[in-house]
């Protein structure tokens, strides 16, 4: 019996008028996989992840999380998924602890203390979020995403703006979660981050998947070379299409 993919994009297509953001993407992520999603600016990473988070609907195709259609059953799909969008929104007039307690109540449980520990926010947990730096806000959003121990984590540039010790701690935690069976899809511009943590690398260019490789198969500089080669090919193909 084949295992249900943790994440499945079925011929997903998204356009805004004449601007095509994502072109018929077919993609599956198995449970317990750590996938790094890379691509140039405007490649369609954020659009793809926003469709996965359910805040954007594809023009064609379906997005499934743990077999649940994100569009058809938004509540159930979100129960399986924790997410950090590119620009996370947090209640400004709550403390981080109060915000996480609120998220725990909405999600039906979660260890607020452990989430604060992971985010390195214990000392500042009782300050209002409006007093936080961008990095601290991102840590709060990360803590909210992992709080209820969801089966799938979707992180859009979630490590940007974190100080090195926090980034290292979060990467180690994500790795530990994956080892316990959690699926992580992390979008980033930073190739070193993907090299350090991901099992599999998917590259998008101009809305298409142009590479899907095992991270272990790529050498030390292989990922960067792959990125530049595929980007150049994609640009040539794109100009050919035009």
């Amino acid at each position: 019996m084949s295992e249900t993919p943790a994440i499945r994009f079925e011929a997903v297509h998204k356009s805004y008028g004449r601007v095509v953001a994502v072109r018929r993407v077919d993609l599956s992520v198995a449970p317990g996989e750590f996938v790094g999603l890379i691509g140039h600016n405007g490649a369609g990473k954020t659009t793809l992840l926003r469709m996965l988070m359910g805040v954007l609907h594809p023009n064609e195709g379906r997005v499934l999380v743990q077999g649940v259609d994100v569009h058809a059953d938004p509540v159930e799909a979100r129960r399986h998924m924790g997410a950090v969008p590119e620009e996370p929104a947090i209640y400004e007039y709550l403390t981080a602890r109060e915000f996480l307690e609120f998220v725990a109540e909405v999600r039906g449980g979660g260890d607020v203390g452990a989430a604060l520990e992971l985010a390195g926010l214990h000392a500042d947990a009782d300050r209002l979020v409006r007093e936080y730096s961008q990095g601290m806000r991102r840590k709060t959003a990360l803590a909210a995403a992992v709080l209820a121990d969801p089966a799938v984590l979707v992180l859009d540039e979630a490590l940007n703006g974190l100080d090195p010790p926090s980034a290292a701690r979060v990467k180690a935690h994500l790795r530990a979660l994956v080892d316990r069976g959690t699926t992580v899809l992390l979008s980033t511009h930073v190739i070193e981050t993907v090299q350090a943590v991901a099992d599999r690398v998917i590259m998008l260019a101009h809305g298409r998947v142009v590479a899907d490789e095992r991270a272990a198969d790529l050498g030390e500089e292989g990922l960067e070379r792959l990125f530049l080669d595929k980007l150049a090919q994609s640009v040539q193909a794109g100009s050919g299409e035009r």
């Binding site: 805040v55 609120f102 909405v106």
Partner: protein, 454 residues
């Protein structure tokens, strides 16, 4: 009753906010509208409550007119409030990543509107205090009508805006939306017309209650029972809300994202090269002034184009009012035009808030050029409010009354624009300062054109 976590978090946020900004700010924000309502009383009385100078037996029609206007105003304002709270809510970005209960979220947002807009029905009843002075019973009945219409506005708006999400995505309604959407994205049309649909749907109940008030006053007390109609209509409207919220609340995020992305795509593809409304004005201005005029024209048009085209809509209403053969028509048209001028000039108070703080800090515009630019831009945007009523009064009542209207409206522009600019200097308090001043100015002008203050 089960605890509503969204409401609990809202209460906590309010408490923290008041602790941060100071309790007196919260008190001032609650008290200012009520104070303004009390200040409006001497101006409103001659315009809307003149019937109180007639024998008491003739007051029925006046109560009906006041009840209808107050009720429809409440429904209209509430329709916009509920849209902001339910569809364009800042809470949406926080909540829609989590498996929230959409029904409970909708209840929380409606309670938020009730708490933050409670001053609206109370303020209306304060404005109607002259009725309480001579007929306390009638004032209480009006209070019943006002709160009924508010409840109806809340419930009907919630239902309609959630239904608008379904309509926006519906293939069945697509041909109709394409017919009426103009240059807007199709799904946007469903939201644009939703407040009108609320008003149309609620009007019957509001008018029935107003008729009941008049007929009851005229000697048929059983007709007062019609005051219950808005409450019943509110209950009926609320009935399917939770079920509809389950389908529509999450989908609204995606519909809004599509609308916003379409605008962004449109503006990203050569909008810079295209011209914005009235940018030809810049050709006739010196370069040092023209650059700030162009900045305001572009900034305002791209951020607030619905508001900026509003004066033409208000001008059309003024034109319609002027077309009556009644002796009072020019005064009514002038009143509408003046209200319209003050309403659109409020853009001046909010444009400064839209400016990025770093730009204000590092590249401040010379104050004189900035003020002159703002004056020119607001005066240019307000043309619709001036010329359409002017034309109507000229054609129907002659050049004399038309020039009177023209002078009154130009005077309003001359006062409203600097007031808006001055209020806009305070990014935090601008709208709070401008709103009461505008309300008083409109009421004073209306009292002056229709009849002097008592």
């Amino acid at each position: 009753m089960a605890r509503n976590p969204y409401l609990a978090a809202y209460r906590l946020r309010r408490r923290h906010r008041l602790q941060t900004v100071g309790g007196w700010v919260g008190l001032a924000q609650a008290a200012v509208p009520l104070l303004v309502a009390l200040l409006l009383v001497p101006f409103v009385e001659p315009v809307f409550l003149g019937f109180l100078y007639l024998p008491a037996s003739d007051w029925g029609g006046g109560f009906e007119a006041v009840g209808d206007r107050a009720g429809l105003l409440l429904v209209a304002v509430t329709a916009l409030d509920v849209f902001s709270a339910l569809i364009r809510s800042p809470d949406r970005a926080v909540l829609d990543l989590h498996p929230v209960d959409p029904g409970a979220v909708v209840v929380f947002e409606v309670v938020r509107v009730i708490r933050e807009r409670a001053w609206l029905p109370i303020g209306l009843l304060l404005v109607l205090l002259p009725v309480a002075r001579v007929a306390p019973g009638a004032w209480l009945l009006l209070a019943g009508l006002v709160f009924g219409c508010w409840a109806l506005g809340l419930a009907a708006s919630t239902l309609t805006h959630l239904a608008a999400v379904e309509v926006a995505e519906s293939e069945t309604f697509a041909p109709l939306l394409d017919l009426v959407r103009g240059h807007n994205p199709r799904s946007q049309a469903a939201f644009i017309y939703a407040p009108g649909a609320v008003l149309a749907a609620a009007a019957g109940a509001v008018l029935a209650a107003g008729w009941g008030l008049r007929t009851g006053w005229q000697g048929q007390p059983a007709a007062y029972a019609l005051l219950v109609v808005p409450y019943l209509a509110a209950a009926v409207s609320w009935w399917p809300v939770r079920r509809l919220a389950g389908r529509a609340w999450f989908r609204a995020s995606a519909v809004l994202a599509d609308i916003d992305a379409r605008y962004a795509a449109l503006e990203g593809r050569g909008e810079e090269a295209r011209r914005v409304y009235l940018d030809w004005v810049v050709r006739f201005l010196p370069v040092d002034l023209g650059r700030y005029v162009l900045k305001d024209l572009r900034h305002g048009w791209r951020g607030r184009r619905a508001w900026i085209t509003g004066p033409w809509l208000g001008g059309l209403v003024g034109l319609a009012a002027s077309w009556s053969a009644a002796h009072s028509a020019p005064a009514a048209a002038a009143g509408i035009a003046v209200a319209c001028v003050w309403l659109f000039a409020a853009i001046g108070a909010v444009l400064d808030r839209d400016d990025p703080p770093f730009l204000v800090h590092w590249m401040p515009a010379p104050p004189r050029a900035r003020a002159a630019a703002r004056w020119i831009v607001l005066a240019a945007w307000g043309q619709g409010a001036v010329w359409l009523p002017f034309l109507g009064v000229w054609l129907r009542h002659g050049i004399g009354p038309a020039l009177g209207l023209f002078g009154t409206v130009c005077l309003s522009v001359a006062v409203a624009v600097p007031v808006a600019w001055a209020c806009g200097r305070s990014r935090a308090w601008g709208p709070w300062l401008y709103g009461p001043v505008a309300a008083l100015a409109v009421a004073a002008t209306a009292a002056w054109t229709v009849g002097g203050p008592t």
